[in-house]
């Protein structure tokens, strides 16, 4: 029997490649060749890569579509391919053992995909695949038959707000830039995604780069820009490569360049690589970096729409914001604003990470309760343990405790509980995570990444970190919590840019909801048993079998004991590395 109308889609995002996606594709090619069906393969069996579909934890994910019937396989390895080809592709019997389970389907059920609608289904390196799904139709329509004012009207009516963190209305920003008389204007895409725990923008560029480019074309036309930049992290080599290819293809097809689609509108986009400075995600720092300077923010106003790159009016939008634009133009403002809440329209992409079963990339309507994200989409906590908190918004955000899981996820509601939507990172924490340690982690990050231009941020974050360091080492002093609060308030009020203005948020929100943990540290205890200096390790007599595993594992020689007899840890010698704890099969080593 010959395969007919077969499509094979192999996940080749960064996650898919890291899990061995290229080897899987090679195995398919070899296997299809070996089955003696190579002559028909070209015609009847199409294999292509797709970008991230979200659930990277189960990579390599492969869709096999036979006669319109889609079957998805998980954890695919090259050695599984011969069975899939033989039984499924040739004999049309899916290999049920390897097919995704309910969790895969539940993961997708409550999601609503706008930005990600084509991610994971089309080949990101094939412009025709994007065009076949109505790609570049929105740009064509806008450029050939709409006035800039009308396009901006649609974006304003849709209620689209910036996805880069601040949530500024996109249409309003574009309108301000449009009204500038300057001959030279710039359209910039901010792809400097650096928030720890976030990979939305990377996945969008890797999975559907043309949507971002189309969004930029529409934006540039609306504001009257003829030059654009994508400022992208150098740490994302695959995204950079796919973006460059997409730009070159778009240029070849006449969507970029001079006199686009036979009109008088010209626009082209350059890629500018970052060089590993988080603060360059801040728009004025980003501009400085494109200009070839140290990436330091400057005071606003003037805002970039008035004076941006080389002093010219400049619109800077986030990747996800721009990727929404073609879908809004295609489907209408009403369609978009039918999703979400009164003030937060549309969907948001989140990166779900940490102690969650289904970690990955998700897109949900704004306003969805956090609980549904964690339990229905995320499948709950790893090991079915209790959830402690969800950290949102990265180093500018805060922790939402388990009691507040019914909070709707939108700009206003998260701000109300002391966190932010931010760029979309969601880190799930359980009882094993210490909240003081979390705050310390974020502060280490912001302190390192502070550019040093303004004193409150440069010195303030350093002082905050010192206080957190001493609290986690059991050297905290009476009044330290209040000092943290006071200093935080000053830094928020006096810092030059968003980095310093939001850096204290992780501290303030953990003090707000987990003050008892801070207090416990001041009394010399870390309730989550994380902070090394506050731990003591000991062996429980009733569980110890005297196997000697801990003794052998201890690098400090702190453990003594004879075979089959109770072992002991000498606290004076113990360096608290946890090797004994990890190695004990009988859970006899305790730390507290």
């Amino acid at each position: 029997m010959k395969p007919t109308n077969t499509v094979i889609k192999v996940c080749m995002g960064t996650g898919g490649i890291a899990a061995g996606g290229s080897d899987v594709m090679d195995a398919f090619r070899t296997e299809l060749d070996a089955s003696g069906i190579e002559a028909t393969v070209e015609k009847n069996c199409l294999m292509h890569k797709v970008g991230c579909r979200g659930l990277c934890a189960k990579d390599v994910l492969v869709d096999v579509i036979v006669k319109g019937q889609k079957t998805t396989y998980q954890y695919v390895k090259p050695e599984m391919i011969s069975r899939i080809v033989k039984e499924h592709i040739i004999e049309n019997n899916p290999v049920t053992d390897w097919v995704v389970g309910d969790d895969y389907h539940n993961f997708h059920k409550k999601q609503l995909k706008v930005v990600l609608s084509d991610c994971g289904s089309i080949d990101p390196e094939d412009i025709d695949a994007y065009i076949a799904g109505k790609g570049y139709e929105a740009a064509r329509k806008v450029i050939t038959s709409s006035a800039p004012e009308d396009v901006i009207g649609i974006i304003k009516a849709s209620g689209l707000r910036g996805r880069g963190g601040a949530g500024f209305p996109t249409g309003v920003k574009w309108e301000a830039a449009m009204k500038q008389a300057s001959k030279q204007k710039y359209m910039i895409c901010n792809a400097d995604e650096g928030d720890p725990g976030a990979f939305m923008d990377r996945s969008v560029i890797e999975g559907n780069p043309h949507a971002v480019i189309e969004g930029m074309i529409i934006g540039a036309y609306s504001i009257g820009a003829d030059k654009g930049y994508v400022y992208i992290r150098a740490e994302y080599p695959l995204a950079v490569e796919r973006l460059r290819k997409a730009l070159s293809d778009a240029r070849t097809r006449g969507f970029l360049g001079k006199d686009i689609l036979g009109t008088k509108f010209s626009f082209d986009i350059k890629v500018k690589l970052g060089a590993g400075a988080f603060v360059c995600g801040e728009e004025t720092a980003l501009i400085a970096s494109i200009e070839g300077q140290r990436g330091m923010p400057r005071a606003k106003p003037p805002f970039p729409v008035y004076s941006g790159l080389w002093g010219k009016p400049t619109v800077i939008n986030n990747v996800e914001t721009l990727a929404n634009v073609p879908y809004i133009i295609r489907n209408g403002a009403q369609w978009f604003s039918s999703f979400g809440t009164e003030k937060s329209k549309g969907t948001k992409v989140f990166a779900l990470t940490g102690k969650i079963k289904n970690s990955g990339l998700i897109e949900v309507p704004m306003g969805i309760p956090l609980r549904e994200i964690i339990y229905d989409i995320g499948g709950g906590i790893e090991g079915d343990r209790a959830l402690k908190a969800v950290q949102t918004g990265g180093p500018s955000g805060g922790c939402i405790p388990a009691e507040m899981l019914d909070t709707p996820v939108d700009f206003e509601s998260l701000a109300k509980v002391g966190s932010i939507v931010g760029s979309g990172g969601m880190v799930v924490l359980d009882a094993d995570n210490c909240m003081v340690n979390m705050a310390q982690y974020f502060l280490q990050f912001t302190q390192m990444e502070s550019c040093g231009k303004c004193v409150p941020c440069r010195i303030g974050t350093k002082r905050l970190l010192e206080i957190l360091d001493r609290i986690t080492k059991g050297k905290g002093k009476e009044g330290d919590i209040e000092l943290l609060e006071k200093l935080s308030a000053d830094i928020k009020a006096a810092s030059l840019c968003g980095l310093g203005q939001t850096a204290p948020n992780p501290i303030l929100s953990t003090i707000k909801y987990f003050r008892d943990e801070y207090e416990a540290h001041l009394k010399g205890k870390c309730p989550a048993a994380v902070c090394k200096e506050l731990l003591t390790y000991y062996i429980l007599e009733e569980f110890c079998k005297g196997c000697g595993a801990c003794l052998r594992a201890c690098p400090a020689g702190a453990i003594t004991g004879e075979k089959k007899k109770l072992h002991k840890i000498d606290p004076a010698v113990c360096i608290k590395c946890g090797a004994c704890f990890d190695v004990c099969k009988f859970k006899a080593v305790k730390k507290e």
Partner: protein, 154 residues
């Protein structure tokens, strides 16, 4: 000295920008590739090629983490220890690299095979802990996994 090819590349990049100093970031990447790291000679070459004062070039170069200011090993292991990776065990991996390979953060093995750079989030948090070796991503790391991966880099 920059190679002729690099000089040509630099010149092309220079033409893309309204002012020479705007080409500094890509120029420094080229110099780093040519010289291995950014030392006095590299800054001198960039400064000559773009006509930008050396102090400005160095000021820019030292601001960004991806420019290296000392000789690096043949392969750069870039381990993320940021939040999502940390809570899934990145610190243990960093200890492992230290104990098994003598790789300290920022350090290089005596045989110049590996350098270790501790990274902020590299956007692979959904499959944490993660690292890059040169330009290749590796995810869901364990100690055993790292051992197998590093075998591939000689």
């Amino acid at each position: 000295m920059l190679s002729e090819a690099a000089k040509k590349e630099l010149n092309e990049i220079r033409q893309k920008y309204p002012e020479a100093s705007a080409a500094l970031l890509p120029a420094l990447y080229i110099a780093q590739r040519e010289f291995g790291h950014l030392g006095a000679d590299a800054y001198e070459a960039v400064s000559d090629a773009l006509g930008v004062p050396k102090a400005i070039a160095r000021g820019v170069g030292t601001f960004y983490a991806m420019y290296k200011h000392k000789p690096m090993g043949r392969h750069i292991v870039q381990l993320c220890t940021n939040v999502s990776c940390m809570i899934l065990g990145a610190e243990k991996l960093s200890d492992f690299l230290k104990n098994e390979y003598g790789l300290e953060p920022g350090g290089t093995t005596p045989d110049k095979r590996f350098s270790l750079v501790i990274m902020e989030c590299i956007g692979a948090c959904g499959t944490a802990p993660a690292m890059l070796v040169n330009d290749d991503f590796y995810e869901n790391l364990t100690e055993k996994h790292i051992e197998e991966i590093l075998e591939k880099y000689k």
